[in-house]
Every structure is written in C-alpha cells, then in structure tokens.
C-alpha cells in the first residue's frame, strides 16, 4: 500500500478524484448561485458575475458545474462499479471454467453487445422510471458485458500460463487460481475499461436526459449540460466545454490510477 502511494501517477489520479468529489460534496458552499435559478441574462459570456457565463435559461454555468458533479459522479462511478461487480466474476468464470458456463456467458455477452446500449437503457429506464438510483443500475447493467468480454479474453490467455499450471500442480482449486493468479493479471485492463465506462455512463445518461429519461431537470448533470450546450457552441462554448472538461478530468483521474497498476 505504501509503495503504491509512492508513485506520482497514482497520487495525482487519486488527488484529482478527491478534488472532484470534494467539489461535488461541498457544492452548496462553493457554488455562487442556485444552480436551478433561471434569470433573464441568458447565454451571457463569461463575466465577473458569472465566471463561465450563463446557459440558455440564464442559469450560472459555474454553479451548475459544481452541483452537476453530484449526479454525474454518482451515475458515472456508480454505473462503472456495478458493471465491474457483475462483469468481472462473469468474465473470470466464463474464461476459466469454460464449457457450458462459458457458452452461456458468451451468448449473453454477445447479445448485449450487439444491442445498442442506449436503446436498451432507454427501454429499461422507461419501464422502471428515471430516478438516480435506477439510472445507476441500468447503466451498470448495460455496461457489464464489455468488461466481462475483456476479462474473459485475458482469462483465456492466462489460463494456459505455466504459473497457472504450477498452481494446479500444488493442488489449488479453481477459485484460488482465479482470485490469486488470474484476477491480479487482469486488473490493469479492467482499470482502463472502468474509466471508459465512467465516461460512457455519464454521456449515455445525458442522452437519456435528452429523451426525458435521465436525471430529471432542472437538476444539473454534466452530460446533459454538454448536450444542451451543443446548440449554443458559437455563442458560449463554455456551456459544453466546461462540463465536458469536468468529465474529462474525472476520467483522466481514473485513467492515471488504472495505468499505474503494474
């Protein structure tokens, strides 16, 4: 653990994430305005009163950004965590145990990947209702197959390693081997996919918002803000760029952590 913290990449990554989380948690203290308070000063460029300007309903972009982290981070990270929690065991078991378990798992994974994630998320959200909690579950549910497929591929390769055979030779069971030998060697790839899933979830939830099934307005949400800002890029690019940057920074933080795992 200690040596983990010695590496600068991880420290920076963790620092970034902590900052983002801190900003979101401390939003009420940091935001200069009420994020849902509209005004007549719509689409105004950055000024001393509104550092990032205002959006199409006159709301302060900076405040919305600060508050936006709350739902975006929950959706993004939450969905990625659910995807990992489902995808990793499925991938490991399918890859290592093979046979019928693998056959079943691959079919399911292939079906999920073939379907456009957005449509699937749409249908399910429409059925269960667009609350934050549901969004996290749905997006996680839609994203797990990709992680599973990645892990399965790695596992298939690692299964044939000599050190796995050596482990079997000392009498290790499948669960031991999967936990101690296969999983540690797939962590790095998962970390990269995790970061991507965070980004994917945030933007997919934005698309869902666009269709009325995402984070219910007027709650600020980075993905939704980016989407909304597309129409006004010429007038106030900050509308899209700022929340976009926030997402990028968050993902970058995960990326740094992920790629420093050896």
């Amino acid at each position: 653990m200690r040596e983990l913290l010695k590496r600068p990449k991880i420290l920076i990554g963790v620092a970034i994430l902590l900052v983002m989380v801190a900003i979101s948690v401390l939003a009420p203290l940091l935001a200069p305005y009420d994020p849902t308070a509209s005004s007549v000063m719509f689409l105004s460029p950055p000024s001393p009163e509104n550092w990032l300007g205002t959006d199409e309903l006159g709301r302060d972009i900076l405040s919305r950004m600060v508050y936006g982290g709350q739902s975006s981070l929950i959706v993004g990270i939450g969905a990625a965590v659910i995807a990992a929690v489902i995808g990793i065991p499925v991938g490991l078991c399918a890859g290592y145990l093979g046979g019928r378990i693998d056959l079943l798992a691959t079919q399911v994974i292939d079906i999920f990947i073939a379907l456009p994630g957005l449509i699937l998320a749409l249908i399910i959200t429409a059925m269960v209702g667009p609350t934050l909690f549901n969004l996290v579950l749905v997006l996680g549910f839609v994203s797990w197959p990709r992680i599973a497929r990645l892990i399965r591929g790695q596992t298939l390769a690692l299964r044939e390693s000599v050190f796995v055979e050596a482990s079997k030779a000392v009498g290790a069971r499948a669960d031991w081997i999967m936990l101690k030998h296969i999983w540690p060697n797939t962590m790095r790839i998962v970390a990269a996919q995790f970061a991507l899933t965070v980004a994917y979830s945030i933007f997919t939830s934005a698309s869902l918002s666009f269709l009325g099934l995402g984070v219910p307005p007027p709650t600020p949400d980075w993905g939704a803000m980016v989407r909304a800002g597309f129409d006004y890029l010429a007038l106030n690019p900050g509308m899209s760029l700022a929340p976009g940057a926030a997402v990028a920074v968050t993902v970058f933080g995960f990326y740094l952590i992920g790629t420093s795992i050896k």
């Binding site: 390693s161 000599v162 050190f163 055979e165 050596a166 482990s167 079997k168 030779a169 000392v170 009498g171 290790a172 069971r173 031991w176 101690k180 030998h181 540690p184 060697n185 050896k262």
Partner: protein
Amino acid sequence: MTDTPLMSVRNLRKLYDIRKGVFSKVVGRVHAVNDVSFEIAPGETLGLAGESGSGKTTIGRSVLRLIEPTDGSITFNGEDVMAFSAADLRNYRRSAQIIFQDPFASINPRMKIRDVIAEPLRVQKILTTAAEIDQRVTELLDLVSLSPDYKDRSPLELSGGQRQRIVIARALAVNPKFLVADEPISALDVSIQAQIVSLLDDLKERLGLAMLFISHDLAVMEYLSDRIAVVYLGQIMEIGPARAITQTPKHPYTEALISAVPDDRPGLRRKRIVLQGDVADPVSPPSGCVFRTRCIYARPECAVARPELREVGPRHFKACIRDDVL
C-alpha cells in the same frame, strides 16, 4: 531384492484427437504416449530421455494427472492414482510435485517471492499462521541457497537461475517424496545449469527424493539418474541402469542418441551414428517398430509387430527384435 516401488506405471496411454474441417471432425489420433510402463523405487531417479515429439513431457505430466491419461494404471505408494477423487488428487499433490522448464513463465510475476513459495502451504492448509509460514519460507530459501531477504522481492528482479531455485523451493514446500523435473535446466545459461544440477543432486541426497528427470541432455541425465528410459514417439525403446544405457546401449536408437552427443575430449570420439531423416510423423507412425524407418539395422521383420520390452541385463530392457547387433 526389490523394495515396493514408490511409483508404478503400467500401460500408460495418452491420445489426442486431431480435428479438421468446419465441424471439427475427428480425422485421426496422435499417440503422444503409447503403452509406457516403468517403476521408480523410493529415492531413485529415473531419467526420461528423448527428443522433441518423444512424449516425455506428456508422460511427466500424466503421472501427476496434470494431463489426464487416456488409459493405463498409475500406482503411487500402493494407491491407484487413476481412481483418485478431486480431494485425493489434492492430497496426492502433497507427495508428488513438479518443477517446470521455464523459470520465467512458471512464477506469477505479480506475486512476492514469499507468496510464491508459501502458496502450496496455504493451498494445502499445511500452515496457517503468518509466523509459521514465514519461518518455513526462510527454511526453504535456505535449502536452495538463497538468503531470507529474497522473501520480499519480486520475481521480476531475479535472474533465471534464481527463479529456478524459487521454483524448486516451492515444489519442496510440501515435503514431497517424488518430484517430476521437466527439463529444469534447458532454459538456463550454461554456467547456471551447473549450479542447478548440483543443487538437485544435493537435494536428492538430503531429502531422499525420488525423481522423474525429463531432459534431452544426456550428459546431465547420466549424472543425475540411477536409471534411464529412452523414449521415442511415445514408446520406451530401452530402459535400464544409467551407466549401462550410456556406455553399453542395447537399442539402436539409444546407440544413435549417445553417439550424437558431442564430446570435448579429443581422441574419445564415439562411433558417430548419423540417422537418416527426422523424427517420424506421430499421426501415422510406422507399423511394427516405430524406429525402423531411421534404424540402420532395420530388417523387413521389424515392420511386422511392435517389439516387446525384453530383458538384456539386470533391470535392463530393450524393445528390439534383434540380438545380434549391439
């Protein structure tokens, strides 16, 4: 007087299906191991000599049931290994261990050395407390002449020779009576090979280990083994005391193998038998004696039937119908 053998292998067979085509139809079978029998007494080292495609590696893994044999019987300490349940097999792994050829591949690069060596102890639940495990790991490192401060290092920092010592330490953690050594030195530098050879020699003595030593290096095999079995295309051609095999071989293949080994003592050149062609195709092996297509003493009778192993000396057998050539 023969004691009860520690390991007795009878009529061991391993067949692989060859599949071709879109529907993976089975079009043939490869006899990787074709009716192999031998015995190993407690504390004895049997060398398995052969070239690529001989099946010696498959034999080594089969007796431990790391590869499932297709047929045959394996008896260890009086027990029928083929009948072992999963739990029995795990128990078996306490008495019979293996060291592999590639020291870089056989250790998980992400584990610390301590955990690598302690793995058998944990998996077999032999020791449970951290203190006990730590002490045993130190003992084992000492056994392979490595200092205790290797415990916290990563395999990535270690050289091939050091890693192979770790592999040996891991195999010995459970105090096995029997060790399969599958080409343990081929992947090492020449001067390091000598260190590992000496280490294995020493450990054999100290721990009374029985060993199945698999290698293509005949000089090292003669040095470490009590008896040698010469394997070709999945069959034993000759088996007997090490010196007898290397100095007075009775089978044409053994003779060719021994004569092919270069010797650096000028003037002591053996009669060089140069075989024709390469190793026969294991998918469609020659009828009768599988070696006959390369044998310089081959006769038409050799194609009729597979020669039985016949006794030619004390515990010395050959699979050849001719008695008049060697």
